[in-house]
Each structure stands twice: as structure tokens, then as C-alpha cells.
């Protein structure tokens, strides 16, 4: 429309909007051999936005008081029009976020995109992983159901094994000796304000690094798959002759997001209670521990690991060491090769590790 053009012109002569759009979108070129795994990040961004929006909507009716929380969630699920939809989107979405995050991480591992100069991207990504786990854990308590209460008791109890400060840490986390109203208060503040803002900030940093350094080239379909970076001076990794981000790869991102939406909506409408055991619908009772409290699927491997090791401290230390190793991966694996089939040891270890994680998760489910 002529009016729209005049509006854009007005903004353009003041801030050079068209030039900015051209540089950021049109001239931003991606490698020709880019694949759909590079959409995972956009899908995650979409999921995050959806979580924030559904979360804010839930905030309108949810009451963060131990006596009223469960009833307010029951009210949302039963009496508020489409409340069930908002709540199930939020619950299913949180599980999807962890799943897509794992896929994103695995694709980065397989394509060697964590190697120099992108170590900071990996580190910020790792921090985002722990933040997502934290937001899931804190969010889990808010409905104040039997599952919420006891899963949080078990989770916060684990800090007990840390020598010297352990018991104090547990009390600090809970805001008291046992899980109770003070726990709800602090978990609510963390879940609704602190962690989402931190995630947003880190996502911003993650994207800035991506834009500044340049997208990595996938190692597939190329003769030379070694990492070209020398580390001598800053150099933006451009892709001359590549695919423009806008409209080409942006459309691919949107396609991927639509496919994700199809899967997501399928779960929300046809099997949303996939992640809900029946204890999720009983109000919290501090005096009755249900028979089989298990953490969510993405924590089952940790749960099973702690069951394997006879000493809780050893179990914790092993996991801590594993996470530290993962966090520092780019500084440990400095090999220049990026193609997965040309890094047999790394691939064997990684696939072995993934299978072992899946195995522990399944074991944790049945144990």
C-alpha cells in the first residue's frame, strides 16, 4: 500500500532502516550446504516465546500461595475458557524445549560447530541448558500437587550430600527445613522473573556471537572438512555465493517451525497427559509420600545414576564432573576435523554416551 511505503520511507530517512534490513537479512549469506538442523535454534526461540506468552497468560489466574495454588490451577483447567489449552501448551512446551535443546546440542556436536572460534557460543549454550533445567525444576513446583511437592523434596534433598555446606544449601534452597510455602515463594520468583530474564539475556548473547562470528559451515558435501580457523586475528566467517537468509533460509526456518508446531499441537490435543502421572492431579499433602515419585524424563538418567552409586556424594561428583567436561568440551577437543565420519573416536564416544544416557533414562523409568 502507498501508505505503508510512506511510513517506511519516514522511518528509513531517519534511521536507514532499509539499509539495515538489507545488511542483516538480505546480504546475510548462509553456506550453500546448510541443512535443516540449523533451524533448531529458531525453533527453540519460537518455543521460548510461546512459553513466555502462555506463562504470562497463566499468571493472570494462577495464585502463588500454598493454600490456593492447586485450586487456581484446577480453576484454569476447568473453568477458565481455553484455560486447559494455555496450561497444556505451557506444560507440553516445557518438555518440547528440553527435547529440541538436546537435538540442537547433538547436531552441534556431530557437525563440530563448537570448535574455534565458536567456543563462547558453546559455553553460552551450555549455560542455557542448565538454565532451562532450572526453569523446568522451579516451574514443576508451582501447581503444588503431590508430584510437585515430593519431586521438589527429592530434588532439593540431593544437595545434602555436598560436604560441609550441604544441609545449609538444602535449607537455603527450600527457604526452610522442609519444602513449604517459602519454597513456593522463591521458586515462583525464580521461575517467573529471574531465570526467564537470564535466559533472554543469554540467548541475546548467543545470537550476537552467532552474528558476529558468522554461521559455521557444515562439513557435509565438502572435500576439505578441517576447521580453517587459525586463531591469529578476528575474521568474520562469511559465505560468498551463499544462500541469503532472507527470504530463503528464513522460509526454511518458518517451515521447520511449522513442522514443530504440527508435532507440538498433536501432543497437546491428542496426548497431553503423556508427561502427567496421576499424582500431578492430587493436591500436595506433606504427610503422605506417594509410592513412586520419579522426576521428569529428562532427569531420569541423573536419578538412575544416583541409584547406582552407593555413595550420594560420589554420584553427585561424577555428574558434576560430566557436566564440567561437557561445558569445557571445545577447550578439550581442539582437533581441527569437523566431519563426523572423519572423527571416529569422538563419534564412537559421543554415540556411546548418548546411548548410555538413553539406557539410563529407560532404566530409570522402569526401576
Amino acid at each position: 500500500m502507498a501508505l505503508l511505503k510512506r511510513l517506511i520511507d519516514w522511518i528509513d530517512v531517519r534511521i536507514g532502516a532499509r539499509e539495515l534490513a538489507q545488511k542483516q537479512l538480505g546480504d546475510y549469506l548462509l553456506p550453500r550446504n546448510i541443512n535443516v538442523w540449523y533451524s533448531m535454534g529458531s525453533i527453540l526461540l519460537f518455543i521460548f516465546v510461546l512459553q513466555v506468552v502462555t506463562g504470562i497468560l497463566l499468571l493472570i489466574y494462577y495464585v502463588p500461595d500454598a493454600d490456593k495454588a492447586f485450586k487456581s490451577v484446577t480453576y484454569i483447567m476447568n473453568d477458565v475458557p481455553f484455560g486447559w489449552l494455555i496450561r497444556m501448551c505451557h506444560a507440553v512446551g516445557s518438555n518440547m524445549m528440553v527435547l529440541v535443546l538436546l537435538l540442537h546440542m547433538f547436531s552441534v556436536l556431530f557437525m563440530g560447530s563448537y570448535k574455534g572460534p565458536r567456543e563462547l557460543n558453546w559455553v553460552t549454550g551450555f549455560i542455557l541448558l542448565t538454565l532451562v533445567q532450572g526453569i523446568s525444576l522451579t516451574g514443576y513446583l508451582l501447581p503444588w500437587s503431590q508430584l510437585s511437592f515430593w519431586a521438589t523434596t527429592v530434588a532439593t534433598n540431593s544437595a545434602n550430600a555436598i560436604p560441609v555446606i550441604g544441609p545449609h544449601l538444602v535449607e537455603f534452597l527450600r527457604g526452610g527445613k522442609l519444602v513449604g510455602p517459602p519454597t513456593l515463594g522463591r521458586f515462583f520468583a525464580l521461575h517467573v522473573a529471574v531465570i526467564p530474564l537470564t535466559i533472554a539475556a543469554l540467548v541475546g548473547l548467543h545470537l550476537f556471537l552467532l552474528e558476529r562470528i558468522g554461521v559455521s559451515t557444515p562439513p557435509f558435501g565438502l572435500k576439505e572438512t578441517k576447521n580453517p580457523w587459525q586463531g591469529k586475528g578476528f575474521e568474520y566467517e562469511g559465505h560468498p555465493g551463499g544462500i541469503p537468509f532472507f527470504p530463503n533460509y528464513a522460509l526454511q526456518d518458518l517451515t521447520s517451525i511449522s513442522i514443530y508446531l504440527a508435532c507440538f499441537l498433536g501432543v497437546v490435543f491428542f496426548d497431553p497427559y503423556l508427561f502427567f502421572p496421576k499424582d500431578a492431579f492430587l493436591p500436595a499433602n506433606p504427610f503422605v509420600t506417594p509410592a513412586h515419585i520419579k522426576p521428569e524424563w529428562y532427569f531420569l538418567a541423573n536419578y538412575q545414576t544416583l541409584k547406582i552409586f552407593p555413595n550420594e556424594l560420589i554420584g553427585l561428583t561424577v555428574q558434576g564432573a560430566a557436566m564440567t567436561f561437557l561445558a569445557l568440551l571445545p577447550f578439550i577437543d581442539r582437533g581441527p576435523e569437523k566431519h563426523p565420519l572423519k572423527r571416529p573416536v569422538f563419534m564412537a564416544c559421543t554415540i556411546g554416551g548418548i546411548l548410555l544416557w538413553i539406557g539410563l533414562t529407560v532404566w530409570g523409568h522402569y526401576s
Binding site: L57, I60, V80, P81, F82, L85, I86
Partner: protein
């Protein structure tokens, strides 16, 4: 060229899907945020005052479940849900003791609905009512 034609076509298709998606989002969102209707006058129950003699209770149906009106001996009128707060049985009025007894697990309530003994975890839910022109309107 052919591509432009196809581009326009799919552009229109996408526009259609996008409009549909927008409607599918805006409608539930609006319903979710819109202020709820407060209880209308439908469902109110009217009982003549003379139906509830001194020291006696009258059971009736209100909002789909059992309710009771009590004229306390030498005192005022009170209205409760007659559903026992333990597991849902309907409480009985004991005229001689001027209290409520639940026959299922012997929960006892005072004439004011407070729990005296037994398993009920909460007092009987009070119901709002008004008295005018010799009639009691509950709800």
C-alpha cells in the same frame, strides 16, 4: 514468469493459512481474557420461612447438590451445603442434639457447620441467603 505466478499463488495460500491461524489464536485468547459472567439469578431457591420451624432443618437441592437450612433453637437461620466435607455423604440433622451427623463415618458438625469430631477436614460450606417477605432466598 512461471516462478512469479507460483510465488503469488503460494503467497495467497500462505496468507489464507496465516489468517486462519490468527483467528484460531485471537478467539481463544479473547475468551480466556474476557471477564467472567458472575452467577445469574438462575438457580436460586426460595423457601417459605414457615417451612423451617424452630430447632428444625430443611433439606433441599441447590446448585446440583444437597443443601440444608437450619433454624437454630432460639437463634438465627443458617444455610449450608449438606455435603459432608470428608467424602461426600449427605449429613443428617439430629434434632435432639441440634447438630449434624454424617452416617458414613460419624462426622459431627455443630449447628453452625463447625466440625466437632470425626474425619471431616473442613466445616460445612456456608451458602449465602436473604430473607424477605416471609421467604428465604438461597443463592
Amino acid at each position: 514468469m512461471e516462478n512469479i505466478g507460483r510465488r503469488k499463488f503460494f503467497g495467497i495460500c500462505l496468507g489464507g493459512v496465516a489468517t486462519g491461524a490468527l483467528a484460531a489464536i485471537i478467539y481463544p485468547l479473547f475468551r480466556y481474557l474476557a471477564p467472567r459472567q458472575t452467577e445469574s439469578s438462575a438457580g436460586k431457591v426460595v423457601i417459605p420461612l414457615k417451612d423451617v420451624p424452630d430447632g428444625e432443618a430443611k433439606f433441599f437441592e441447590f446448585a446440583g447438590s444437597s443443601a440444608v437450612l437450619v433454624k437454630k433453637r432460639g437463634g438465627d437461620l443458617v444455610a449450608f451445603s449438606a455435603v459432608c466435607t470428608h467424602l461426600g455423604c449427605i449429613v443428617q440433622w439430629e434434632k435432639d442434639k441440634q447438630d449434624f451427623l454424617c452416617p458414613c463415618h460419624a462426622g459431627h458438625y455443630t449447628a453452625d457447620g463447625a466440625v466437632i469430631s470425626g474425619p471431616p477436614p473442613k466445616p460445612l460450606t456456608k451458602l449465602p441467603f436473604t430473607v424477605a417477605n416471609g421467604a428465604i432466598t438461597i443463592g
